[in-house]
Amino acid sequence: MDVLVYLIPISLLLGGAGLVAFVYTVKSNQYDDPDGNSQRILSDTYDDAPKS
């Protein structure tokens, strides 16, 4: 069972990475307009300077 010494930290790190990524998306206002974002991707005008 020595492999646990590596596996447990690895699993925690992976989970932690997910958590950090989520925190980043919250901080950068990516959940402000989920409906709009899902519709905007269908628009064929290229928005090269998206505003926040």
Partner: protein
């Protein structure tokens, strides 16, 4: 979002002046203004593009962006650009818009509380997944040192997570206990703490069962419920609060013959104020100079404008239509009629029964129940086995199994689904129990002016008038800003009439407009002025030379969906009543068109409240739909209330639900949705109870291993959420 970065000022005495100087500079050089508009009808990718393209094409606009989730557009524009221009531009392409108050938006935009909850939820989710992984290996047979190691790692993850994520529950439970009350959070906190404490104890003794995963899953599910609840309510609350106030808190005070803009709070009795055409009376007073017409519809519901001249008493809130008026204030602040109206609201509020929500009544049954059950099983096992460790373990298991996860999710999951659905239709649920109360309604009371009707006059039967008369009337009407004139000119234009050439056009405030057409004097205005016999309905009169005056009659156009809504409500077995402050013929005519048999005309604000109180005393649950100041007290007195977004600020604040669009249709839908939502909430409570009834005997018998607890908890939470999603 960009925040203006300001260079930090170093600590020196001379620099103390810098912030002040900066403030002055900021005032002198106006920055780009940010305009926010509510767009109740935006719903698709094409809408986003159309709206953004139109807004960006307006002169002075530097950037415009639509937020579809909040149905809102924010515009960065030069200070010269006014929200009215933007609203007009959007109106032309078929998107009704309302201005939002930029000041309040800044406060709600970041939504700190919501973000805070989301962080706690994320941390709890992360921790519970990791601990669950470790638990799976324990359940599948890890033993001895491996099991202890896993338990210790679980403890290391759980303790800081609980300390961070469960804080909202700790706070709420503490607040309740301090006031010697029990709420839903007390058993939650007890379950979490007891689970963590027994698990730690078991771990130090290398025991077999630890409930770390259960404690975390509990926190996660409950936080999910809280977050949903918060999200629905904050969207509704911010949107309702941000609708800009219609009342302007400023008045033009006459100082030495010239008007000076002054805050209303500084106006004193006997001050002389100038009220421009189109402006609202800031105070109660008496007209000292000028002639005009007054629109009292928001205060009294009357649609006919009142002639105003020297000596007439005016009340705050009335709109001055044609000529500038100077008014001497007779009552300000506390004594003004506006404030007396506010007192009527306060009285109505105190009479309102405090409604106990379904969740509260469930908690009242539930909280003492689980405590007693858990304490009894602890005592029972202590006496039976004499082992405090086993007894404590069982008690913790009982608390976890009876966990209020499902109860905590039961209401928010349903209200989120229901409010989301209603928001799409253009209804904002402002109050958390509004849906439940709406479901109980059996009587619907409507106000007339501004609610069932648009509150704007429309010319009746354009084709019935002679085209020459129309073209003269149109030319005269174009010379005035009076609502009847505007409506007449619009109707004539729509009918393809071209205005005649009228020379020497002159507006006589309070009376009408006159001019010279082909050498003969022509007049358009009040009946008495042109020498006509006044009709009962709203009308303006045209006189050409010596011919008999022609009356142009106006009707207050019905709001879109009014007929359908009234019919749908009557079909659903609700009593529909019309309560208006307008004159009897006008109310009767509308009642007849809408097939409403019970109506009251010339009702004063206090009459409306009285009527609703009487209905309530008879055991009816009343839904009040109204928009004016005269409805405010009635809106508060009713069991539940709805007001359109075009309503006065005070009315919107007093009502539980705000109707964003121009259409009344969603009201009937809302009643149906509310009924099915309440049914789902009750179903959810039943499901949660069934789970408990099945699982609790296992827990008391000592058969509930952490695996069983985890299964029961997740299964009930998921069933409840899925049931909420079935809402149609």
């Amino acid at each position: 979002m960009t925040t203006a970065l300001r260079t930090p000022v170093s600590a020196c005495p001379a620099c103390l002046a810098a912030p002040a100087a900066e403030a002055i500079a900021e005032r002198a050089v106006p920055k780009d203004a940010r305009i926010s508009l509510s767009l109740p009808t935006a719903h698709c990718a094409a809408c986003i593009r159309t709206v953004e393209d139109v807004l960006n094409a307006q002169p002075g606009v530097s950037a415009a962006r639509v937020n579809l989730t909040l149905k809102r557009a924010s515009i960065d524009a030069a200070p010269s650009v006014t929200p009215e221009d933007m609203i007009k531009a959007l109106d032309r392409i078929g998107y009704p818009a309302h201005e939002l108050d930029a000041g309040t938006i800044a406060a709600t935009e970041t939504d700190k509380a919501g973000r805070d909850l989301l962080m706690r939820l994320a941390v709890a989710g992360f921790a519970s997944m990791n601990v669950m992984l470790l638990s799976v290996s324990v359940w599948s047979g890890a033993a001895d040192a491996t099991r202890d190691l896993f338990h210790w790692i679980s403890a290391a993850i759980t303790l800081p997570t609980i300390a961070f994520s469960a804080q909202p529950f700790f706070h709420n439970a503490w607040r309740a206990l301090r006031n010697a009350r029990l709420n839903m959070d007390v058993p939650i906190v007890l379950a979490i703490l007891l689970a963590v404490a027994t698990s730690l104890w078991e771990t130090t003794l290398s025991g077999e069962h630890a409930y770390f995963d259960a404690a975390l899953a509990l926190t996660f599910f409950l936080l999910a419920g809280r977050y949903l609840d918060h999200r629905t309510r904050s969207i509704a609350r911010s949107a309702a609060e941000e609708l800009a106030a219609l009342e302007v808190p400023r008045a033009l005070l006459m100082v030495g013959g010239s008007p000076v803009e002054t805050p209303i709070a500084d106006i004193k009795v006997d001050d002389v104020i100038l009220v421009r055409p189109g402006g609202r009376m800031p105070v109660d007073g008496e007209i000292t100079d000028g002639q005009s017409e007054l629109d009292r519809s928001l205060l009294t519901g009357e649609t006919l404008p009142v002639f105003a001249e020297q000596g007439l008493a005016v009340s705050a809130g009335e709109i001055n239509l044609t000529g500038p008026l100077t008014v001497r204030a007779t009552a300000v602040g506390q004594d003004s009629s506006l404030h007396q109206m506010a007192e009527l609201v306060a009285v109505a509020e105190s009479g309102r029964n405090r409604y106990t929500s379904l969740a509260d009544s469930a908690a009242k049954l539930y909280a003492p129940g689980v405590h007693i059950l858990s304490a009894l099983s602890f005592l029972g096992w202590l006496i039976y086995s004499g082992d405090a460790r086993i007894a404590l373990n069982i008690a913790a298991a009982v608390l976890i199994i009876t966990c209020p996860c499902a109860l905590g999710l039961a209401v928010p999951a349903v209200t989120t689904a229901a409010s989301g659905r209603l928001f799409k239709k253009g209804l904002l649920i402002k109050h958390s129990t509004a849906l439940e109360r709406l479901a109980e309604v059996d009587t619907v009371v409507f106000d007339k002016t501004g609610t069932l009707t648009n509150g704007t006059p429309v010319l009746r039967g354009v084709q019935g008038y002679d085209r020459t008369d129309l073209s003269v009337a149109m030319a005269l009407a174009l010379g005035s800003g009076h609502p009847l004139s505007k409506s007449l000119a619009d109707a004539a234009q729509a009918a393809g009439v071209v205005g005649a050439t009228v020379n020497g056009l002159e507006e006589i405030p309070g009376y009408g407009t006159k001019g010279l057409w082909q050498g003969t004097p022509v007049f358009l205005g009040r009946a008495a002025w042109v020498g006509a016999r006044p009709l009962a309905s709203t009308a303006t009169y045209l006189k050409i030379a010596d011919r008999d005056p022609i009356a142009f009659q106006f009707i207050d156009a019905m709001r879109q969906g009014a007929v359908e809504t009234v019919k749908a409500l009557q079909d659903a077995g609700k009593d529909v009543i019309l309560l208006s402050g307008d004159t009897a013929p006008a109310v009767e005519a509308l009642a007849a068109t809408l097939k409403i048999t019970r109506w009251t005309a010339e009702a004063l604000p206090s009459d409306k409240v009285q009527r609703i109180q009487n209905l309530t005393d008879k055991g009816h649950k009343v839904l009040m739909v109204g928009d004016g100041l005269n409805d405010t007290a009635a809106l508060t007195a009713a069991h539940v209330s709805i007001s359109p977004a075009s309503a006065l600020d005070a009315a919107r604040v007093a009502s539980d639900i705000v109707l964003l669009g121009n259409d009344l249709d969603p009201i009937a839908d809302a009643l149906a949705t509310a009924v099915s939502a309440t049914k789902r909430i009750r179903e959810n409570f039943r499901i949660a109870t069934v789970y408990n009834v099945i699982a609790v005997p296992f827990a008391i018998a000592g058969l509930a291993t952490p695996l069983v607890a985890a299964l029961a908890m997740s299964a009930s939470s998921i069933t409840v959420s899925l049931n909420a999603l079935r809402l149609r």
